[in-house]
Symmetry: C2
Subunit: 301 residues, 2 copies
Amino acid sequence: MNLRDLRYLLAVAEHGHFGRAAEACGISQPTLSVQLRKLEELLGVTLFERASKSVVPTAACERLIGHVRTAVAEADTILDVARSLRDPLAGRFRLGIIPTLAPYLLPLVFGPLRDALPALAVEPWEDQTAALLDRLRAHDLDAALLATEADGPDLAGLALFTEPFLAALPPDHRLAGRDTVSEAELAGDMLVLSDGHCLRDQVLAACGAPGGGSQGGPLGGTLRAASLSTLLNMVAAGYGTTLIPGLAAGVAQDAGLVLRPLSTPAGRTIRIVHRASYPRRVAAEAVGGVIAGRLRHFAAP
Amino acid sequence: MNLRDLRYLLAVAEHGHFGRAAEACGISQPTLSVQLRKLEELLGVTLFERASKSVVPTAACERLIGHVRTAVAEADTILDVARSLRDPLAGRFRLGIIPTLAPYLLPLVFGPLRDALPALAVEPWEDQTAALLDRLRAHDLDAALLATEADGPDLAGLALFTEPFLAALPPDHRLAGRDTVSEAELAGDMLVLSDGHCLRDQVLAACGAPGGGSQGGPLGGTLRAASLSTLLNMVAAGYGTTLIPGLAAGVAQDAGLVLRPLSTPAGRTIRIVHRASYPRRVAAEAVGGVIAGRLRHFAAP
DNA sequence: CCGGTTCGATAGATCATGACTATAATGTCA
DNA sequence: TGACATTATAGTCATGATCTATCGAACCGG
């Protein structure tokens, strides 16, 4: 059975006249007659009683026509809804963001995103890299802002900006007077984030430690801060030093910390990552573009 | 847009696998791929995100799929309802019957009709010939039992049985002793029905009067009985004589009348009449057949 | 690292069918 | 009866749905 034929049926029922119904459908009268007869044969029911001057729906047709109207209306609804979904820069856009980035980036880009992509409802989701990758692969996220490379051929990423790592010191720290600080000098009393934060691994790597393992070696003692905010407060309280990403500089200074560039600059590159097969790639690229544009002055040397 | 393609969409959504979905649809996998891509192009929306080991509905697909299910379900409903309507010997059958026939015929045939055509809901409608013809032509009746020929090329009729006219006399009438009665002898004090009853015209014609006109001539005086029942009671009360159709004989005898055959037999033929274009002709013929079978012993010579 | 497997996409051939034009058949009306 | 209106039929054509065969990419086990 064909939706087209159902539309023909409705046209004949409406006009009570094959010729005018055919005209309304944009087809010739013989085509309408043939198709309607086929439909009648398919259904096994005579739909219209044709007399010389009248075409009247049969009782069977009356019983069916409500369902026919519903089916055709629903098909039209499908087309309408599809039309409204056609714009890739519209609809929900679930964006994962790592915790060491979200609090400092979102306030900067939320407004510009709303302005540049008003139809796109960006919904941030904050979690650590591994969890975001899981959700991304499970189609629970459209994209994620990560500080690591896309970690498989099923994912694709686009670099947006690079933020430098800065040494964060208590004001009374012995290195606070320097213009630049070397990582080796920091290593002795450096505090790091808890496992799972990519920033932890990157900071350890920058300081020459064997990154990744849960064993921090000589670094950081027993402290494993759950959030960058906690870490900053610990440093401000004089428990040690740390490295922070550039975007957190404002908050760190507000907390009373002294920030110094590293003598051998290091940093991390923020990427927007999505599934390689993600069909709304343009949306991800548009979001990335807006963020990159807003963050251009952080571009790495 | 095609219902077939919508079914394909549902199959892919259900199986998450093109090959198995194609098998479920009874088509080859390439056909499914091509048709689904065409649907996506028509809608302007990507429906599934294809990756190497997964086929996942997009957000757009999730928004659409409810409507798709509804449309397909409604189409299936159309097929189901049509199947249930396929039997022409089922459903309502609105049957017009003239007033001089209905009270005497219906008690005889209602049971047999229910037995022979249990799925056919015969709904009697009692009115005079002209009104029945109007309703028939207006598609308000499926058929009518009339005592006249089908009166136009747009109608078709089937003779069912013939009932003789009988002279109905008061028991003390001067002719009550005869074996047969001639129409001429009756004419003097014959009572007739009011205008519109076909029986009136036929009785007048049988008695040699110029039938049809509202002017009864010497016949019937001023009495114009509205129903055969009234007429019988008037005759029983001694106000005159009349001719009655054979099926009313039982009731007439119960009313105490003397019935006598006519010396030159006359009668009327009952037909089932329907529109020439009526699509359930078999239902009309089946109803007619049951009635004719029940009335076979009334068959005219 | 490599051959086998899985799975969707593509190409080309085939065939069903929806569409057209022209015409017939039928009933209506003057 | 002839002119008109209306639906049905016949014949032809083009679109498009389907098939088989094959490709390409990703994954997997040795």
